[in-house]
């Protein structure tokens, strides 16, 4: 039977998979043999920048991630903090930059879908979405189309699943002309004793697939998301995934219903590199092996190869390990919600990822080598040189200067955007977009969460360390300004090509600044995402480490808002 492995591995094929010679040699030595086609595909996605964080890991390790209220820091699907009364806030931010440039509606929509899954995978009900957007110059021929499509896509997905999109930020700068940034954040709520993790356990336990069927969607999307753009990648038009928010909504409800039982041992969403990254991650965290029978995978298209099934990025899918004997009960729940449910394998003690197809073993790789042996680079960098402040003449007409500023694209009202988002569904949005931070009540209580996303790329470009500090501090101030106590942040680090020393210098500088600010404010980083190679024909974006901060207030009746409450009140300026 044709299974793809008859395809010969050539140096060109290896290169097309984004692996350099040295990396390929590493694979051969880890496996003790040449990989076949299926295995090569799996290594290539696991070792891509997107999945392996090979350029950033070294520096990310330096960030502060701990505080007494941190239940789970980076390393799981999302960060978890304790917000008192046995409740936890679970949140993360993620980029969907390249797909959104190619197909703004679907790119942005599936970005929202992905980040929602990261959060409800951990047992949380998503309660708020945020989005941090950067576009090129307002009069660049593409900007209008991209902005309209992205906003419509975020609304199209978020509105349909019924999670309010409560805030965000939007900037325009020519450096994003060929490389827009679409960063989406989700915040969810769970009980601290009902949090789910991805570590698989229990040899023989069933591995279960739920959600939508697998098609040939976005195969190689994960590698695409890490490869620098050139003009003709627009022409090549790699397959873009289409999101199905309706199915996502059903998936949320079905997963939360199953999570209320004790059936789940481990659960993981299928994000970039779908079945590959989810199974490898679950097995690796649990220190076990996985055997998958690919014939059992629910398929949307005929004659799919193992390679395609393992690399497909079809949306709205999850992988779980269940306690033995709970399959029927779980199946009933997913049938009620009209979702696919299939036992596709089981846990083994081999430490390998073993793939069967048509009764044959078509792939067999040590899980360790896919994760721990992935390359890690300490890329060379040059710190951004300090610049002298520039003298600017005072404006002749202050009134006009103010009007120019607030009428400018970077400061004008964002009402056009947020009115396209349902920011009130779920009935707990008590501070809508337009203020310093969005505030969402913890359902059924007087407690509330405050959320803000911020970064000023211009500052990060001029002085990465200062810009990194400022971004963290701004979320802290925005959260404080509504009356909440800032607790922790997530982040999405959008930069250019890390193989360039100056860009790597920006990255290292921003992280240093962020780390300092977090330490000074006792405001740890609990989750995040890195998006590199945001560059078109050698010209990179402004360094854009977007920060998403979360705080809590015990009594939301005491919330502050920016509206002036009446005439005759005193205006006070505080600070330096």
């Amino acid at each position: 039977m044709n299974n793809g492995n008859e395809i010969k591995i050539t140096p060109e094929l290896v290169k097309e998979h984004g692996l350099n010679e040295e990396e390929y040699a590493r694979i051969v030595s880890a496996m003790g043999r040449e990989p076949n086609y299926t295995e090569l595909g799996i290594y290539s996605v696991m070792w891509s920048e997107h999945c392996s964080y090979k350029s950033s890991r070294f520096h990310l390790k330096k960030l502060p991630t701990k505080a007494p209220w941190v239940i789970q820091g980076p390393g799981e699907n999302a960060g978890v903090i304790d917000i008192g009364d046995g409740q936890a806030a679970i949140f993360k931010m993620e980029s969907h930059n390249h797909p959104s440039y190619i197909e703004p509606y679907q790119g942005a929509a599936t970005g929202v879908g992905g980040i929602l899954r990261d959060v409800f995978t951990m047992g949380a009900r998503p309660v708020a979405n945020m989005n941090a957007l950067r576009f090129g110059e307002p009069d660049h021929p593409k900007t209008r189309h991209l902005l309209a499509g992205v906003v419509e896509g975020i609304g199209g997905y978020g509105n349909c699943v019924g999670v309010p999109t409560v805030g965000g930020e939007t900037n325009f700068d020519e450096s994003y002309n060929g490389n827009i940034l679409v960063n989406a954040m989700t915040v969810g709520l769970a009980d601290t004793d009902k949090i789910f993790y991805c570590a698989a356990a229990g040899v023989g336990n069933p591995v279960v697939y739920v959600g939508s069927k697998t098609g040939r969607d976005g195969i190689h999307g994960a590698t695409m998301a890490s490869a620098e753009f050139t003009e003709d990648s627009e022409e090549k038009r790699p397959t873009v995934q289409v999101g199905d928010p309706f199915t996502e909504k059903l998936l949320i409800e079905a997963c939360l219903e199953l999570m209320a039982t004790d059936a789940i041992i481990a659960i993981q969403d299928m994000g970039a590199a779908g079945l590959t990254s989810s199974s490898v991650e679950m097995a690796s965290k649990g220190g076990v092996g996985f055997e998958l029978d690919l014939d059992q995978v629910p398929q949307r298209e005929a004659n799919m190869l193992p390679y395609e099934m393992m690399l497909s990025e079809s949306q709205e899918r999850m992988l779980m390990v269940l306690k033995p004997g709970r399959e029927d009960m779980a199946k009933k729940i997913f049938e009620k919600w009209e979702l696919d449910f299939a036992v596709i394998g089981h846990i083994t003690d081999t430490g390998n990822l073993t793939l069967k197809f048509g009764g044959e073993v078509v792939g067999d790789m040590p899980i360790n080598s896919l994760v721990e042996d992935a390359p890690e680079y300490e890329r060379p960098y040059v710190p951004t040189p300090k610049r002298d402040a520039v003298d600017v003449d005072a404006p002749a007409d202050l009134g006009k200067a103010v009007m120019d500023l607030i009428g400018g694209p970077n400061l004008c009202s964002r009402r056009w955007i947020w009115e396209q988002y349902d920011h009130m569904v779920m009935g707990d949005t008590i501070q809508r977009p337009g203020g310093d931070a969005a505030v969402v009540r913890v359902h059924g209580t007087e407690k509330a969460l405050a959320i803000s996303t911020d970064v000023t790329p211009r500052y990060c470009y001029a002085d990465p360390v200062e810009g990194g500090r400022q971004a963290v501090a701004e979320t802290w101030r925005n959260i404080t300004a509504v009356g909440a106590t800032p607790l922790a942040i997530t982040n999405c680090l959008n930069f250019g090509n890390p193989e360039r020393k100056d860009i790597m210098g920006q990255f290292v500088g921003c992280l240093e600044g962020m780390g300092e600010a977090c330490r000074a404010l006792d405001y740890p980083i609990v989750s995040g995402n890195v998006s590199l190679y945001n560059e078109t024909n050698g010209s990179g974006i402004l360094p854009t480490p977007a920060i998403g901060g979360v705080g809590v207030m015990a009594d939301s009746n005491k919330m502050a808002t920016i509206a002036l409450k009446g005439a005759g009140q005193t205006v006070v300026l505080i600070g330096e």
Partner: protein, 79 residues
Amino acid sequence: MKARIHVTLKNGVLDPQGKAIEHALGNMGFDGVEAARQGKYIELDLKSTDRASAEKEVDEMCRKLLANTVIENYSIELE
């Protein structure tokens, strides 16, 4: 002249609408439907009376606006 344009999803692209229609028809007791796909149908009234130039122009409209060629195919009939 009239242009009749069909815009359909490319092969292999997920079609949530089609899937939902299939499902709903099944639930309503129509069990003779194996698959359903949904696309768009657009009619344009054109000033032009020249077939060749109209064809070219409508094709450009499709590529630039009416179809999203990343995920959709289109076909044009003139009459």
